[in-house]
């Protein structure tokens, strides 16, 4: 691999360029017509305009990206996250053009991207999945299935999605009426009354395991805890997950390696799980076959460069580490800094960054895509960068994070910095007493419009 085409934008493009250049690989950055001034375009060895501002005509235009990669003399394509990173057709098109796709094969992307298929693959590898009906239930079969799953359970519409068409059953007596109502509702809403059942985990944590594989061996790089979410978007991530006992952590990470090995996984991947603190059980939910936004917390505790590992593996090299050489040390926390106003329902806030101060000191890192004078385009997501801290203990990391958040300054646009400054003082965050619905309830109580927030008002 000599010349890498970056089919993405924003902070992850910057991140990829840094690792590629450190390995002596030159870079060509794809840019839309709206992105000529982005930081990645300034850092890359060269840029190619791949299409108009709208992502559907640029960063999602597979044919234009492949052509640009070929014409600019690249021999490999890194898809980043989002956009076409988990698009099997794009991976196949890259390979068909004689280029290396930095990620797993199209076949694996397709297989693990299909929720049903991924669940079956996990089951076959002995990885626990959320107990549920395998497919649809009828009023006749529902009782027997409910008996197996246990209560409370969720009735979900087969044709639903994104939280729509879900009912929770607490007591067995309710099951029959709830099923009938859910079926009628699903038929009205989706034109399909089909239902399936799943165990309802009241207070779930979101934990996930980073794996890397070279097609022959798979290792895990330990787990991350990402329960602090708003509308299913992660806001704050940590490694390791302090809620897990050592034996549970070991079993969780081993299960991820087992699943990765069962498909001869090649590249970086993340297995996402729900963790039920009451029963101390974890359940596989899905796999992402790409780099993730929150990979830096893993890098901070393991000392590994996950993007470099991806590039090495794509170039046909073996993993640089064996499992017994992967050592987790200390604790890392990442805060996502978005151009959103947390005091106004997280309204997106595009504009010009007038001032920008990056905090420093030991264990402090910022992976970002902004600079003073940068105009944030309106066409893409709101992630400006990620503030990441490391400490020997979680307490030490929180102390560094508190100072780094106080130092950090972004002017010209509203950001989520005030939210993080409040979170870092919150007693439940300090104890990691959180679950996936924790932040939304906390926001309603502490950060609703007009509320000054626990640390007082002031726009930053």
């Amino acid at each position: 691999m000599r010349r890498l085409f970056i089919a993405n934008r924003g902070e992850i493009a910057v991140r990829i360029i840094r690792s590629a250049h450190a390995l002596g690989i030159s870079t060509v950055q794809a840019v839309s017509e709206a992105d000529g001034d982005m930081l990645a375009a300034r850092l890359a060895g060269a840029t190619v305009v791949v299409g108009p501002a709208r992502a559907s005509k640029s960063y999602l235009n597979g044919a234009a990206l492949v052509q640009a990669a070929l014409e600019s003399g690249c021999d490999a394509v890194h898809p980043g996250y989002g956009f076409l990173s988990e698009n099997a057709e794009f991976a196949a098109a890259v390979e068909a053009a004689g280029l290396v796709f930095v990620g797993p094969s199209a076949q694996i992307i397709r297989r693990m991207g299909d929720k049903v298929e991924a669940r079956l693959t996990a089951k076959a590898a002995g990885v626990p999945t959320v107990p549920g009906s395998d497919g649809r239930v009828t009023p006749e079969t529902a009782h027997a299935v409910a008996e197996q799953i246990g209560l409370p359970l969720m009735i979900k519409a087969s044709a639903g999605g994104g939280g729509r068409g879900i009912r929770i059953v607490e007591r067995r007596e309710e099951l029959e009426t709830q099923l009938a109502q859910a079926s009628a509702e699903a038929k009205a809403a989706f034109g399909d009354g089909g239902l399936y059942l799943e165990r309802f985990i009241r207070r779930a944590r979101h934990v996930e395991v980073q794996i890397i594989g070279d097609g022959a061996d798979v290792v895990h790089l330990y787990e991350r805890e990402c329960s602090i979410q708003r509308r299913r978007q992660k806001v704050w991530e940590e490694a390791p997950a302090v809620a897990l006992k050592p034996e549970i952590r070991a079993a969780l990470c081993e299960s991820a390696v087992r699943l990765g090995r069962s498909v001869n996984y090649k590249g970086a991947g993340t297995l996402e799980y729900l963790y039920d603190e009451e029963s101390e059980r974890f359940f596989f939910i899905e796999m992402n076959t790409r780099i993730q936004v929150e990979h830096p917390v893993t890098e901070m505790i393991t000392g590994l460069d996950v993007v470099q590992e991806m590039l090495r593996i794509a170039a046909g090299r073996r993993l640089s580490v064996r499992q017994d050489e992967v050592v987790a040390r200390g604790h890392a926390i990442e805060c996502r800094i978005n151009a959103e106003d947390p005091r106004r329902q997280f309204a997106p806030n595009p504009g010009v960054v007038t001032e920008f101060h990056v905090p420093g000191g030991p264990g402090v890192r910022f992976d970002g895509a902004i600079y003073p004078g940068y105009r944030i385009p309106i066409f893409y997501d709101s992630l400006l960068g990620k503030l990441i801290v490391w400490g020997e203990t979680r307490e030490a990391a929180l102390g560094r994070l508190r100072q780094a958040l106080a130092e950090m300054q972004v002017s010209g646009v509203e950001t989520t910095l005030p939210l993080h400054r409040s979170l870092v003082e919150d007693p439940e965050v300090l104890e990691s007493a959180v679950h996936t619905n924790w932040l939304e309830a906390w926001l309603a109580a502490h950060f609703s419009p007009g509320h000054a927030g626990p640390t007082g008002g002031g726009q930053t």
């Binding site: 709208r54 151009a339 309204a347 997106p348 595009p350 309106i378 066409f379 893409y380 997501d381 709101s382």
Partner: protein, 80 residues
């Protein structure tokens, strides 16, 4: 009956239809109820619904589907 217009509350990309495969929310002459959806404005992958402030009769869109709009740009005309 006076012809009035309604402006965009935000900067973004205007959509006169729920998705590219569907017809526009409104055709000239359509009756509109207060609160009815007239279009969408997308900014940073977040969609803001543009809702009719009052009941009336739709006259025409003043911007094209997928046009960039600024806060205060007139989006459509209606009679009320």
């Amino acid at each position: 009956m006076a012809v009035k217009s309604m402006v965009s509350p935000v900067i973004g990309q205007f959509y006169s239809r729920p998705d590219p495969q569907q017809p526009p929310y409104l055709q000239p002459g359509d009756a509109i109820a207060a609160g009815a959806t007239i279009g969408l404005v997308e900014v940073m992958k977040t969609f803001t619904r543009v809702e009719a402030e009052e009941a009336g009769r739709f006259v025409r869109y003043l911007v094209e589907d997928e046009d960039m709009v600024m806060p205060g740009d007139a989006l459509f005309e209606y009679e009320a």
